[in-house]
Symmetry: C2
Subunit: 297 residues, 2 copies
């Protein structure tokens, strides 16, 4: 069945996801309208996207692509220590695409929305001549005192990562679980000095955290936890890990491994190095994934 | 110059637009963070998009496309009676596109942002195999008691539209000025029973307002103000007018034309008909622009 009518398709798709009914205004008007977060809470805003041929293939199960599309910005909310709230979904659809594709996509997206307490507040659709692309905007809240930024790291802080890195393309990039529980727990208990999620690979993302903090870094490559079958190179450069990278003062770092293992026994937490005063990356440090690097002139 | 480095390009582009500096956290971290609206104000959320070949052509001036990309969701904020606040920009770029394209695009977008008081709070970029597409998310605020929805119209309410309709493709679709001042003024003074912006053409959008209000409608076609060179058919079906459509109780409707002419002397305001009890559209009522209608089976 080809897509015949925009309003009808959107109405059908909205039946497959949890919508923002408790708000003054959910999908269907010119804008969504929502009550403000409580006093002392900040509103988080994130926009992210997936494009066919870059983040997924036409042959991938659309429901897994829908899961991934929402879980990517969820990973960013996690990296701020936040709690996700509402999503707005914009999709670009080639004219020859069957409407069934979007129903499967919304089923997977709805599964992620229900699991992580997100409601759908609105969206937009457009044709485009070729290729599927989706942009998702996500709001979240975080107590103002618990906002975790990239920029708070200090020389001497220890660097930690959750989970294992590399080889995401074998499947993890479509099925990963954003580290929301872990991010919230860290914000409430250990309050890392800096935190971000690893989406472009540790090779690209660690220098970003260090630069934002006005630091350099040193890493013991042998300590980097690789996903089964992945080399250190892949762990640094593949990208799409969606793990958390954070820095802790040496004092706080002493106690975390034991507490972590109690609360998240299935998820490794690894100290891989530390922030330094020198702002140069270690020699030979590889870059991670850059959307445009292959087009360097 | 081809796009070589994502971080560098984003930094360059952000120099061309007003960014959210007064917020706790602007572009550059995993999410943007913003203080909540004041008590009694609602937060508006809108996402919208432009795709090459649908909303613009590769040969169009990129700065006009950037202007349009931001002004489209601004028109939706206007339709709620709101004041725009922050934007997040996601763009999909084909690999052969020159970085200069995005600089021109951001210049046009920045011009609109400055004119309408919007700051850029973040964004994302991705390659896609072909075609340029941009999705923009915009926040706004509106006093809770002044939120203008599509759903409040009642039988007997008079229907008004701002400006003239039709023939947008000749240039208006790239240069239009969103009706923010008009929307705010209406929300503060006449408080329309229902309001929306006309983006898919009056033919498609008026039935949406009527349906949301549980009404039908009657329109005197001869009263519809057409843009110079446009027929009634074009005024109903071309789309991309970005004018405001609203309903007013008969009592309020008596006084509006005179007051309007004082405040907005250059913008026509026209009463085109009224909402009715019957929920069927008038026979022969044309549809407007539907992104997928040409693919009907």
């Amino acid at each position: 069945m080809k897509i015949c009518n925009e309003d009808k398709l959107l109405a059908e798709l909205l039946r497959l996801v949890p919508v923002s009914l408790d708000q003054p205004l959910g999908p269907g008007d010119d804008c969504a309208a929502t009550r403000s977060p409580k006093r002392g809470q900040l509103l988080l805003l994130k926009t992210d996207c997936v494009a066919e041929g870059v983040h997924f293939l036409r042959s991938d199960d659309p429901s897994r692509v829908g899961w991934k599309a929402l879980c990517r910005p969820l990973s960013d909310i996690a990296a701020m220590g936040g709690v996700p709230q509402q999503a707005l979904i914009t999709f670009f659809s080639p004219p020859d695409l069957d409407a069934g594709y979007w129903k499967k996509f919304y089923r997977g997206l709805g599964k992620a929305a229900r699991r992580f307490g997100v409601t759908i507040a609105g969206g937009e659709m457009s044709r485009q001549p070729s290729g599927i692309a989706v942009s998702i905007t996500l709001t979240g809240i975080v107590p103002e005192m618990q906002l975790l930024q990239r920029s708070g790291g200090r020389p001497g802080d220890q660097l930690f990562i959750t989970g294992r890195l590399g080889g995401s393309i074998a499947g993890h990039h479509l099925d990963f679980v954003p580290r929301l529980a872990e991010g919230r727990w860290l914000a409430e208990t250990f309050r890392p000095s800096a935190m971000m999620d690893i989406s472009d690979g540790l090779g690209a993302d660690l220098p970003r955290l260090a630069r934002a903090s006005g630091c350099g870094f040193t890493v013991n490559l042998a300590d980097i936890p690789c996903r089964r079958g992945s080399s250190i190179d892949q762990a640094l450069s593949d990208g799409e890990d969606y793990e958390l990278l954070f820095s802790l003062s040496p004092k706080k770092a002493i106690g975390i491994s034991e507490r972590w293992a109690d609360v998240f026994p299935k998820t490794p937490l690894t100290c891989i190095g530390s922030l330094t005063r020198s702002q140069d990356p270690p020699s030979g440090w590889p870059g991670g994934w850059d959307h445009f690097k292959e087009f360097d002139t």
